[in-house]
Amino acid sequence: MASAFFDEMGPRGAEVRQAYRILQAWLDETPTEILTLRREEAETFFRRAGITFAVYGEGGDPERIIPFDIIPRILEAAEWKQISDGLVQRVKALNAFIADVYGAQDILAAGLVPREQVLLNEAWYCQMQGVALPHNIYTHIAGIDMVRVGPDEFYVLEDNCRTPSGVSYMLENREITMRLFPDLFSRYNVAPVDHYCDELMRTLTSIAPRNCVGEPTVAVLTPGIYNSAYYEHSFLADQMGVELVEGPDLYVMDDIVYMRTTQGPKRVDVIYRRVDDAFLDPLTFRPDSALGVAGLMSAYRAGNVNLTNAVGAGIADDKSIYTYVPKMIEFYLGEQPILKNVPTWRCSDPDDAAYVLDRLGELVVKEIHGSGGYGMLVGPKATKAEIAEFALRIKAKPGKYIAQPTLALSTCPTFVDDGVAPRHVDIRPFILSGAEIRVVPGGLTRVAMREGSLVVNSSQGGGTKDTWVLKG
C-alpha cells in the first residue's frame, strides 16, 4: 500500500532523493538506542520548559506535550521557492478579498462569489464595514495548511486567517533539533527560522494606527493560562519583548486603549490578539465574555488601536469560501494561482450534495466552521454505521458541509516504536503581512504518528517535526 503514497525520502528499496541522502547515511550509522535516547531528551526538554498544550474536555493530564518526531523533514530550495511564491500570492489575494467584502464589494458585484455566501456567513461582521485599516491588511499572520502528493504537487488544504497557532512549535522544534543533532544539522545548509519573531514585531509595528506617535506599544492579548495555546502566546510576547496581557489588564477610555501598569495607565497601539472575535468586546459581541475588553471595538473603529488579525478576517478562511480563492487570485491580482486548491464539493449545492452522498466512502467530509480535525468524516477509514450517520447529518444541514477527495498525503521517515517508518505529513507555513509581506523559510510540519493515519491534528494524537528548508 505504501507505494500509493509519495514518500519524501524516496520509496523503500528505491534511490534516496537528493535532499535526504545525508540524512539516510546518518540514520544508517546511528543506532536505534541513540535515537530513543534523543527522543527521551526531547521530551524532557519540552516538559521542563513547560511547552505544553491543553486538550479540552477529555480529562487526564491537562497539560500535554505534543509528540515531537526527532527526524527532520527536508525541503529543497527550489521546492520551497514554489511554495513561498504561491503563499505570498495567495495571502495577497485573501487580504484583497477581505478588504473588498468590507468595502466596495467588487467581487460580489462581479458575481464571482455569491452574495449570500458572504453576507449571510456567520464569519462576516457587519461592524467591520467601512472601517479603514492601515495598509488595508486584515490577515497579518496567516497560516496556510498544505499537503504534498507528488514531487512537484502541493495542494492548499485550508487557509487560516484568524489566529493560526503553531509557530512556536516551528521555532522550538528547530531549537531542540539543533541541540540533539548538531552534527547532522551542520552537514546540511539549513535556512534559519529564528528571526520569525523579529519579523513579526516589524510587521506589528508597521501596522500601528496612523495617529500613533513615536514607537508603537505592542501587546499580545491572551485568554489566559487555561487556553490550549497559552504557551505560544507567552513565547511570542517574550521573544518580541512586549507585554502579554489578559482582558482585565486593558481598559478603554475615550476610545483609547490603556493597560494597567505599576506606573499607571499606558496607551496601547497594536494588539496581537489571540482571543476570538466573539469574545473581544462584551459591548459589541458576546456580553458574557470575560476575556475581552469593553469598548475595544469602538477604539478600533475610531482608528486608535489596531488589532491582528482584523476582526472579521475569518470570512476568508471559511471552508465554503476556500473554493473561490483561485478565482480571487485572478480577480484581484490578474495572475494564475501558483498553488492548487483541492477539488471541493459544496453540499449547499444540490448536485454537489447528491454526488457527495453517493461517494461518502471515498471522500473526506468537513464541517464548514469546524477545525482541529473534529466533526469530520474520513470516508475510507469510516465504518458503515459512521457513514450512514454522517449521511443523515448532511441531509439535515447540507449547507454546513463540504467534501473533498481523500488525498494521498506524502510520507516522511518518522521514528516510531518499531524503528524508522514512513508516516503522513502536512505543513503549515506562516505568512506575515504588514507594510511588506514576509515568509520565514519553514513551517510547522505535522505528522500522523499512527501507521496509515491521515489525521495530523495535535488534538487527535498527531505530532510535529522540524522542517528544514535548504539554502539554494
Binding site: 516538559r47 521542563r48 513547560g50 493560562i225 507585554e243 502579554l244 494597567r260 501598569t261 506606573q263
Partner: protein, 313 residues
Amino acid sequence: MLSRTADSLYWLARYMERAESLARILRVTDRLSLMPSGTDADGSEWHSAVVVSGCEEEFYAKHEEATPENVISYLAFDPENPSSIRSCIETARRNARGVRTSLTTEQWESLNATWLELPGWNEARVRGGSLHRFLDWVKDRSLLFYGGTVATMLRRDRYHFTRLGTFIERSDNTARILDVKYHLLLPEHAEIGGGVDYYQWASILRAVSGYRSYNAVYREGLKPWLIAEFLIMREEMPRSLISCSAEIKDCLDRLGEEYGQRNEAHRVAGQIYSRLRFGRVDDVFRQGLHEFLSEHIEQNDRLGAEISRVYLM
C-alpha cells in the same frame, strides 16, 4: 510593567516562601514532639503548629483533634487549605505560568520542576517515615527558587516586586515562628529555664536556621531575651525581622528611584524599620513578646495591603 505581572511575581514569591516556612514549622513541631517531656504527651506542639500557621479556625472546622497525622495532612497536603504546602506550590506555579515571560529560565524551570515532582509526595509516603525528607525537599526547592531569583533576574521593577513578596512573607513567618514559644505550654511541673524550656528555644532557633549562628554571635548559651533580640533586632541574622524589614525598605527605595515616585508604602515600611532599628529588647519584653509580635504581624499586613493598593491593582 503590568500590575497583574507585578502582582503574580509578588505572590508567587510569597507562596514559595510560605511553603518553606510551613516546612520549617512542621520540622520544629516534629522535633518538639519527640522531646522526652516526662509528662503525658498532650500533643500541644501540634496544636501550636496550627495556631502559628494562622489557620486555627479552618483546621478545627475540619478536624476534631490536632493529632500529628491531622496536622501534617492539613498543613502539608490538604488541597482545601489554600496555604498548605501543596496549595502553595500549586499557586506559585500557576502564578508563574501566567507571567513566565517575566521570569528567567532558571526561575521558571525550578518552579516547574518543583510542581512536576510534587505528586511524588503524599501522606502515605510521609507517614512511612519520609516526613523529614519531604520537608527538606520543600526547603531545598524554595531555596533553589530564591537562589535563581537573586542570581539571574535583571535588577529592575520585576526583581523588586519578587523580593518584596519573599521578605513580606518571611517577616510574617519569622514573627510567627518566634511566637510558637508563647503558644507552647510548658508541662505542668517543668520549670522555666529548665530542660524542656531550653529545648523549645533551641528548636525555634533551628526552625530559622539560626542555632549555630546564635552561638557564633552570643557564645553564652540560650537565653530567651537574647534569642528574641537575635530574631528581632540583629541585622546580621538573615531571617530576623529587622533584616526582612531592611530588605523591604530597600526594594521600595529602588522602586521609588526607578519610578521617580514615593508613596504611602514607603512611609509604612520606614516606620516598621525604625521601630526595629531603634527599639530595645527590654521594651519588647516589657510590652510582652507575644503582643509585640502580634503588632508586628499586623503592621506587616498593612504594608502588604499598601503595596497591593499602590502597585498591584
